[in-house]
């Protein structure tokens, strides 16, 4: 096949794949793209600086110049929400997908080998499940001190367990299947069987779950910031903004309520993607584990 033929064939495959996407997946990905673009092009979308204080125009209700109003320092709330995309989305992304990598790997190996390693892993899972997730994170953050870096450490220490549980359960089913036996008969090493043959068959449930997890992590980080344990002001982080507006709730409702819309919109987009992926990949969607 010529180069041109190859590229036509692959673009055809892409189009065919796109045609099979459920509506929820398309809407979710469309929304998510808009949010990412709004974050990337935030300086072009708004004339204001997210940090510049202007006491002359403090606590202005929503109007044409400030669609989301201004806060107690006279900063434009919409501007801060847009710049918040640059803060919340990357943190949400890394807190979701870094633990997923080693969580799935550990779960897959435990499910494949069984035995002592699996037993040990299961005990660790039992113990971490006994703590309410937020409490565990708060305790770790309390010990290490507030801040984004320590939130990363706390999440990396704990969040992998959910992926390990999912991957282990799937691997237990897969390891008895014929293709695994065939690979073993061919003399392939365990590493190759688990990562090369098992992983493609067990990863779907984790991918679908990761969308809910992404939503939960955005809420976790904004929740910690709301409690004063996460991203510290004046950084435009959504939860911190909601917390700052709490003191003005009686006379300036917009400071707390409108940034929340950003969380809801992002969360909805991610949930729609999760819903669509679940349909496309033929998985049952778990909101929670």
């Amino acid at each position: 096949m010529t180069e041109l033929g190859q590229s036509v064939a692959s673009s055809n495959r892409l189009l065919r794949e796109l045609a099979r996407w459920p509506t929820t997946l398309r809407i979710g990905i469309g929304l998510m793209l808009l949010i990412v673009l709004a974050g990337v092009f935030a300086p072009l979308l708004t004339p204001y600086d997210p940090y510049a204080q202007d006491f002359g125009s403090a606590l202005l209700p929503p109007n044409w110049a400030h669609p989301f109003g201004t806060d107690n320092f006279g900063r434009d709330v919409l501007t801060r929400v847009l710049y918040g995309i640059r803060v919340n989305l990357p943190i949400g992304f890394f807190t979701t997908y870094v633990p997923m990598v080693y969580g799935v790997a550990l779960g897959a190996f435990a499910g494949y080998f069984g035995g002592l390693f699996d037993g040990l892993l299961m005990r660790i899972l039992d113990i971490t499940v006994a703590f309410p997730f937020l409490v565990l994170i708060i305790v770790i953050v309390a010990v290490l001190g507030p801040g984004v870096q320590n939130i990363y450490i706390a999440v990396f220490l704990t969040a992998w367990t959910m992926y390990a549980r999912l991957a282990r359960a799937e691997m237990l089913v897969e390891r008895g299947k014929d293709y695994v036996l065939a690979a073993r008969t061919l003399g392939y090493g365990s590493l190759r069987i688990v990562l090369g043959h098992g992983l493609p068959n067990i990863i779907n449930s984790s991918i679908v779950f990761s969308m809910s997890d992404f939503v939960l992590n955005i809420m976790l980080v904004s929740g910690l910031s709301f409690l004063g344990l996460g991203v510290a002001p004046p950084v435009p982080e959504w939860g911190a903004m909601i917390a700052e507006g709490r003191d003005f709730i009686f006379d300036a409702w917009w400071i707390s309520t409108l940034p929340g819309l950003a969380i809801v919109l992002t969360g909805t987009a991610l949930c729609l993607i999760g819903d669509g992926l679940a349909q496309r990949l033929g998985e049952r969607r778990h909101a929670l584990l």
Binding site: R123, I124, D126, I127, V129, A130, F131, P132, F133, L134, V135, L136, I138, V139, I140, V141, A142, V143, L144, G145, S212, V215, M219, S222, G223, F226, L227, G228, L229, G239, I242, R246, I249, F250, W253, S256, T257, G260, I263, V264, L265, T266, G267, T268, L270, C271, L272, D275, A287, L288
Partner: protein, 313 residues
Amino acid sequence: MVLFDYIVGRLLQMIPVIIGVSLIAFVSIHFVPGDPVEIMMHGRATPEALAAAHAKLGLDQPVLVQYWRFIVNAAQGDLGNSIIQNANVSKIVGERLLPTIYLLVTSAFLAVVIAIPLSVVAARRADQAADHVIRLAGIVGFAMPPFWIGILLMLLFGITLDWFPISGYGRDFIDRLHHLFLPSLTIAIFLAPILVQSLRTAMLDVMTAEYIEVARAKGLGPWRILVKHALRNALIPVTTILAVNIGWLLSGAVVVEYLFSFPGLGSLLVRAVGYRDYPVIQGLSLVFAVLVLAVNLLADLSYMLIDRRVLKA
């Protein structure tokens, strides 16, 4: 006898978990960068006061001795002393345990009240417009952070309409229910989407059972079959769903208690973290974990009483 064996077996299974949980609660204070006592006293203490505080917390003992004391005391209900509040941690925590339990119960109740009609309609009209609307509402509801829901409810019911108090706990029973309403509704709105999702699936699964066919053959209407036959059987897993999600419920409670200045375990935890009151944080993490384990145990036991087949498995 089978029943007794089951309960004993279930309790024995919990022992390694409890040891692990207590170990995590115990070691937490030892990972504080620097001297935890100095941090707690905000660097304003004399060396003598520091040494006295170290001795009072038992931090001058070998680690194994400390851990042994920690679990022996905890088993007797003594969680140590708070240097900052100058009081026994068990007493501080104990005062706040009941409000949190009330909050959990009322929240779970409200969540079930919200979720049942929605899931019945969603199951009855599966894959039709009403189902899609409920599913979308569930997705949006899942994406709403509890502290934000709480602020919206405060604004609407507390400030604009002035129907419900937005902070505190109340004195007598009626007053308490009045105070509990907004925080409970906040947690319920945050919990309901998960319940609707599971209940809808459970009801649709039940709808294929033979006794539903029989009911249909008897000429019963679809709503009646759904409510009287399917819902009843689908409700059994609700206890399990609630129990499995108790950690989720408690996580929501921490933030919501803080928002509504509700005197429960969650707001205590946030305050203790603010003061760096490590003994309280340690004690609370243990209490939270034991609460989760106890709720799961109770759910398993009640499930077993409802459905004796569990024993045979």
